[in-house]
Symmetry: C2
Subunit: 371 residues, 2 copies
């Protein structure tokens, strides 16, 4: 049995971010933008295209914090916003989604973190415009931030899904090659893990299989030809679909490992996930399940062929198999402590193979060997 809830409406096309269809006559827009989009002038261009005043909030660190959210809520109230637009990667979109929802309540993120209290009904109309093709946050109800003492937290709620998703490939052409590759692999792993984990359903497979096939052909092109709007568009569409897939079924072992690593030292999420996926895939498919065979079939191969194919994709995208220098000296024991945090366990449990501590230790060791 499965249930497929309606996705938010999605508008796709080059230039669509500059002609947003907002309902009625908006009073004031809060545009929550990644600093990169601000520096590129994209946030200003979108603001100038709107039919009402627009406040740009772009004080967003790579990993949003509770303080980031409090500042965004203050900006929301100062602007008397009735529309919130998120523009950027997963961080900016998560800040925008959380802000629009908690601003209608206490405005204090910790009141809602880890489902401490139900989210209030949202007052603002929200639009999410992703500018990396990776997280799929625009179609997800999970929103990540760090608490005041650095702990990883989430606010979950279908109420945080946007009223409109705009996929505009022109916004992604400036993404550097390495980030394009890392974010694209993150989307690929979302699609693969969502459909092959214990929670995967035929509805997940609809989104995952299509996303994997698109990424397979588009990602190397997007890396090699940054201005190729067809490949950029296919990546944007695929990563949104992969976001729909994880929204249905979550992720699995590669994300379990990746989150544990991220707890030890700073690392781009897509890179950590790609390295963890490549390290864990041969282990995962030792006894392939029907879901794993179905995922492989979508890529025109058998499950046993997947590790070589995935490594080939990463080669084609020029991904250097190395963790940042900050990981030198990080021990498996440190990473295991992170892996065992309660927030990290659902991904281990969802993995469609029984997982021992020894498995996690060995796989973390393999990735840490790349430091």
């Amino acid at each position: 049995m499965f249930h497929l809830a309606p996705l938010p409406p999605i508008t796709f096309g080059a230039g669509q971010a500059m002609t947003l269809a907002l309902p009625g006559t908006p009073r004031s827009v809060l545009l929550i933008a990644d600093p990169v989009m601000r520096d590129l002038g994209m946030a200003e261009r979108i603001a100038a295209s709107l039919p009402c005043p627009c406040t740009i909030f772009s004080d967003i660190p790579g990993e949003p914090k509770a303080a980031t959210l409090r500042a965004a809520v203050a900006a929301y109230h100062a602007a008397r916003a009735d529309v919130v637009i998120g523009l950027g990667g997963g961080s900016a979109l998560d800040v925008a989604k959380i802000t629009a929802n908690i601003a209608a309540g206490s405005g204090e993120p910790m009141d809602y973190a880890l489902a401490a209290a139900p989210l209030p009904p949202r007052a603002a109309f929200t639009v999410m415009i992703p500018t990396t093709a990776g997280t799929g946050s625009e179609l997800s109800a999970t929103n990540i931030f760090s608490g005041d003492t650095g702990e990883k937290l989430w606010i979950w709620g279908v109420e945080t899904r946007p009223d409109l998703v705009v996929l505009d490939p022109e916004l992604t052409t400036s993404l550097p090659a390495a980030l394009t590759a890392w974010c694209g692999m993150d989307a690929f792993v979302h699609a693969f893990e969502a459909m092959t984990n214990r929670n995967g359903t035929p509805a997940t497979a609809l989104f995952s299989e299509h996303a994997m096939r698109l990424i397979w052909r588009a990602l190397p092109v997007a890396v090699a030809e940054p201005g190729n709007l067809t490949a950029r568009g296919e990546m944007l569409w695929a990563s949104a679909l992969a976001g729909a897939a994880i929204d249905l079924s979550g992720t699995a072992m590669a994300h379990h490992l990746s989150h544990a690593l991220a707890g030890c030292a700073p690392v781009q999420h897509g890179l950590a996930t790609a390295l963890a996926f490549e390290a864990s895939l041969p282990w995962l498919i030792e006894t392939p399940t029907p879901k794993m065979e179905a995922a492989a079939r979508a890529l025109d191969c058998a499950a046993a062929d997947l590790p070589a194919k995935v490594s080939g994709l990463m080669d084609a995208c020029g991904i250097n198999r190395a963790l940042p220098a900050a990981f030198q000296g990080v021990t498996v024991a440190q990473a295991m402590t992170q892996a065992r945090l309660p927030g990290n366990m659902p991904m281990r449990v969802a993995t469609d193979r029984d997982v021992t501590d020894g498995d996690v230790e060995r796989l973390l060791g393999a990735v840490l060997g790349l430091a």
Copy 2:
């Protein structure tokens, strides 16, 4: 550029039709059921599972007429219904969708036929439960019936989309082998034509490619093993997705021919469509478009290989290449008259190859040669 509007919520699973999640406390249900579902006792079983009185309306001919709709509207008012459930193939679902909408207005179908007037806001909650895996009517905003003088009419409106779709494979196990094959081929052609016609977008391809791949492996199994719930479920899911695809982009040449044939003599829609598809596919792919190559790639072949593959699928499903006896004596000129009706032109125009009258005549002649 494309826009993907939200699909209705979909619940899938064996037995789900007997545990419908209706909102609040319904007052009275009008269950619009195919006569076959009534005769099999399925309509009674669903009625008995409901928490409120239920009136069963099953006076539905193979091709619903304006009079059918008037009688259904009268039943709706007599029952003081606040829930309308459609149970059956495309005919029963179309009657249910139209009834629930026009009953809130004048109740007269001709007032709304061919978009004569906008549909009123619906008062009843609607649930669509398909029992054939073919039309995809449960996810479509197009609803077909015949006028008082026999002319084919439609009522279109996103307002007619249901509040809930329930896909219960147990309801489809009684479908005879020939109907299973014909309806399944109809769904396959929906998926193929929607993504490959001039209106096809990447959103169409999401639904179409998945539907085609599912039908490819599940349809021969469903024909050979009527009780195989996995294959029946895959067909039901695939035909719904194909319905979502035609709702986005419509159909093309095979449906143009099939509708023209149906205007000449009675023929099951899926059979006419399958025969028209097999006859027209070699012509269509003489100069394959990128969309046609993409459709072929989803089936792991090149466009040039599609005619042989499709014929192989029809063979595997035991489809006898024959029109009903009533077609003996029907001339190409008669069929051309039907093909030229205004309601039949959009499918010709959408076909992604320039179509001459000579093409249509030749292809209609080829299908009529099977009479």
